[in-house]
């Protein structure tokens, strides 16, 4: 597990709550989102990925801290590529599968002590980069 640095606990928990909710609380409203079209620009695809969050500001906050603490900062293109599904389909199902695989294979990061899957953290990073806040 990659361990990342400190941030305001209050701020982080507020942000984390929003991020985790995507995957564990109210995912049904997000089903139906589909894989961003391959023909779109990276920025447009990032925008589509970021839209899966009900509270993009929170996701962006988590993403910003994640990026700030990451030794080698990934760029937006790399993140979007890594999160994309190789085939068309339900993007959320694809991401949820990736998250499960992350937890099963210790592909996790520790942000302010919280154990997040790498996919979750990368999605937040996309939200931060897409918002121009990182």
């Amino acid at each position: 597990m990659i361990r990342l640095g400190n941030m305001s606990r209050r701020l982080f928990v507020r942000s984390l709550a929003a991020v985790m909710g995507i995957f564990f609380v109210r995912p049904s409203r997000l089903f139906g989102d589909t894989e961003p079209a391959a023909g779109l620009s990276i920025e447009a695809r990032a925008e589509k990925l970021a839209k899966i969050f009900t509270n993009r500001n929170s996701a962006a906050e988590v993403g910003r801290y994640y990026l700030d603490a990451t030794p080698v900062r990934p760029d937006l293109s790399e993140l979007v590529q890594s999160l994309s599904s190789p085939k068309k389909g339900d993007i959320l199902s694809h991401l949820r599968l990736k998250i499960r695989e992350d937890f099963a294979t210790s592909r996790t990061v520790s942000v302010d002590g919280w154990c997040l899957s790498r996919t979750e953290a990368d999605l937040c990073a996309v939200a931060a980069l897409a918002a121009g806040r990182a």
């Binding site: 507020r14 937890f103 002590g113 154990c115 997040l116 899957s117």
Partner: protein, 542 residues
């Protein structure tokens, strides 16, 4: 028969076939095994039938290693020993705990768990904890379900509890046994040996008022606990300059404790998460508790030491304190530990103020609101680790210059441990966090800091060392290993029969003989080994 040694004539010699030093779990378990036999037993107890401050002070010592509990607050020195205040947690060591593991230097017992199983079964009767069975599946139910953890990496295991007070429970039996004489207020001053130093010839004894007398037996058993066993051996120097049984400089070395660390906080995805099995289940008059541990394959593959994680469901107020304020964690622990230790000197009111101060932190509000907009109450579980310590030659008990009321040198405890335990702590908590997330149970946040060590009234002074542990780490109240068992006299103080190498008639009972410790509370293993030793002594005397 129970005798007040203070009423004996000065200089008297008491004699028996077996002389057992110490009337705690080990000493009482051994003595009981001979009730009704022709074998005459002397059972020596330093204290009386009740707590005595002056006797308890004989335990005082100094911590020179990683901060540890005050040594005179740690154990209980009267009839029944530390069972007078133990929590009663019982479980055998795991099979892997007996194995020689390449990744754990100096690990392994001279026998496997299967060898000890019959004695564990008998120990269950002594400890009065029901059937010898630790299968959590038999305890789980719809009302108390096991968590749906996959099982490849992390598993549910369980322990039983019954805080049987050996002193109270077995006092009448001991008093009425015709072949047992239990001498209260009788302290060992020295173990005397014959001229060749090959066998014990007598024990020099004293009451606190310096009335001296002696005990002679065919066989002697030291059963005075994980710190006093090596202390008495190191103090007995006539004919043995470095202490009795210490030809290879091993007595007092390899001291082990269970590292007790608050690991993480679990925020369950479902506020109705039923973790009742992990909070204690009553079944057939017995109580069991579930916990999470790593599978043996994971321990081997990742070269980790053994570890477990308890679940503790906190009250609403404590939850916020635990999650947000490190000081709150420390204070809550301090209160629990001081209650457990009976240490009245701790400023309870001050710590309670601190905990309640933490409760005012309302940072959980948004998180709570998000998950359950209509609820004020979200359960939070506190995961608490017990970690096996790697045997370490430099973790040791030595004798200092200070002396107790009887003139015996007090101990200096240099508790030391290394990086594998720390790596295990981090990796195990990561694995458990991943498995809990994977099973959809919830997410965890590790506890990385707290102010436990800020309270100098709980811990005596001592250098924290250079281990880099978070300050919430402390001992599990279990002192083990300082007269370790090994077939080779160059690697162990006692042989597989618990006989001191090079001495024909001196045996050691108790957790000081454990070569490795697992994470399990030691009392059941202490009793099992004591019963095994009793069988051996019966054959020796036949």
């Amino acid at each position: 028969m129970i005798v007040d040694a203070r009423t004996l004539p000065s200089g008297v010699l008491i004699e028996a076939d077996i002389c057992i030093v110490g009337a705690g779990a080990a000493g009482i378990a051994i003595a009981r095994e001979f009730i009704g036999s022709p074998i005459r037993i002397i059972l020596l107890e330093s204290g009386g039938l009740e707590f005595d401050e002056r006797t308890q002070a004989l335990y005082d010592g100094e911590n020179t290693g990683f901060p540890y509990y005050e040594l005179d607050k740690l154990r209980t020195r009267y009839f029944g020993g530390t069972t007078n205040r133990w929590a009663g947690a019982c479980r055998p060591l795991d099979p892997i705990d007996f194995e020689k593991r390449d990744a754990v230097p100096d690990s392994g017992w001279p026998f496997d768990k299967a060898h000890l199983d019959p004695f564990y079964e008998r120990a269950h009767e002594v400890c009065q904890i029901g059937e010898y069975d630790y299968d959590p599946a038999k305890w789980g139910s719809n009302k108390h379900p096991l968590l749906p953890i996959d099982g490849d990496r992390a598993i549910t295991a369980m322990f039983r509890t019954r805080a049987l007070r050996f002193g109270q429970e077995y006092k009448e039996e001991i008093a009425e046994a015709e072949n047992i004489r239990c001498f209260l207020w009788a302290n060992v001053i020295e173990i005397e040996t014959d001229e060749g130093g090959e066998s014990v010839s007598a024990l020099s004894l004293s009451t606190l008022d310096k009335k001296r007398f002696s005990a002679r037996a065919r066989i002697y058993v030291l059963a005075t606990g994980g710190v006093e066993n090596p202390r008495i051996m190191l103090e007995s120097r006539s004919g043995h300059s470095g202490g009795i049984g210490n030809r290879h400089d091993l007595v007092g070395r390899y001291f082990m404790e269970h590292l007790s660390v608050p690991g993480s906080i679990l925020l369950p995805s479902d506020p109705e998460l039923n973790a009742n099995f992990y909070g204690g289940v009553r079944q057939g008059g017995q109580t069991g508790f579930g916990y999470l541990t790593l599978s043996e394959n994971t321990l081997r593959d990742e070269e980790l030491v053994n570890i477990r994680a308890f679940f503790s469901r906190s009250s609403m107020k404590d939850r916020e304190a635990l999650l947000y304020t490190s000081e709150g964690v420390g204070s809550a622990d301090t209160i629990l530990e001081s209650l457990r230790s009976g240490n009245r000197e701790v400023d309870f009111a001050g710590h309670l103020r601190s905990v309640i101060g933490d409760i005012d932190d309302v940072a959980m509000f948004n998180y709570r609101k998000f998950f359950q907009p209509d609820r004020d109450d979200v359960p939070i579980f506190y995961l608490y680790n017990h970690i096996e310590q790697v045997p370490d030659r430099e973790s040791r008990i030595v004798l200092g210059e200070d002396r107790d009321e009887l003139g015996l040198r007090r101990v200096q405890l240099h508790w030391k441990f290394g990086d594998r335990e720390k790596r295990t702590f981090r990796r195990a908590n990561q694995i458990i966090a991943e498995e809990l997330a994977l099973a959809g149970i919830g997410r965890t946040r590790e506890i990385r800091d707290n102010a436990y060590f800020d309270d100098e009234r709980v811990f005596s002074s001592g250098a924290q060392g250079e281990t880099g542990w978070p300050p919430g780490m402390r001992g599990g109240w279990h002192q083990m290993g300082a007269t370790r068992m090994h077939e080779n006299p160059k690697k162990g103080v006692v042989d597989p029969d618990c006989r001191v190498h090079d001495l024909s008639n001196l045996y050691v009972a108790g957790s000081s003989v454990f070569p490795t410790s697992g994470y399990t509370n030691p009392t059941l293993t202490i009793v099992a080994l004591s019963l095994r030793l009793s069988d051996h002594l019966r054959k020796e005397l036949a």
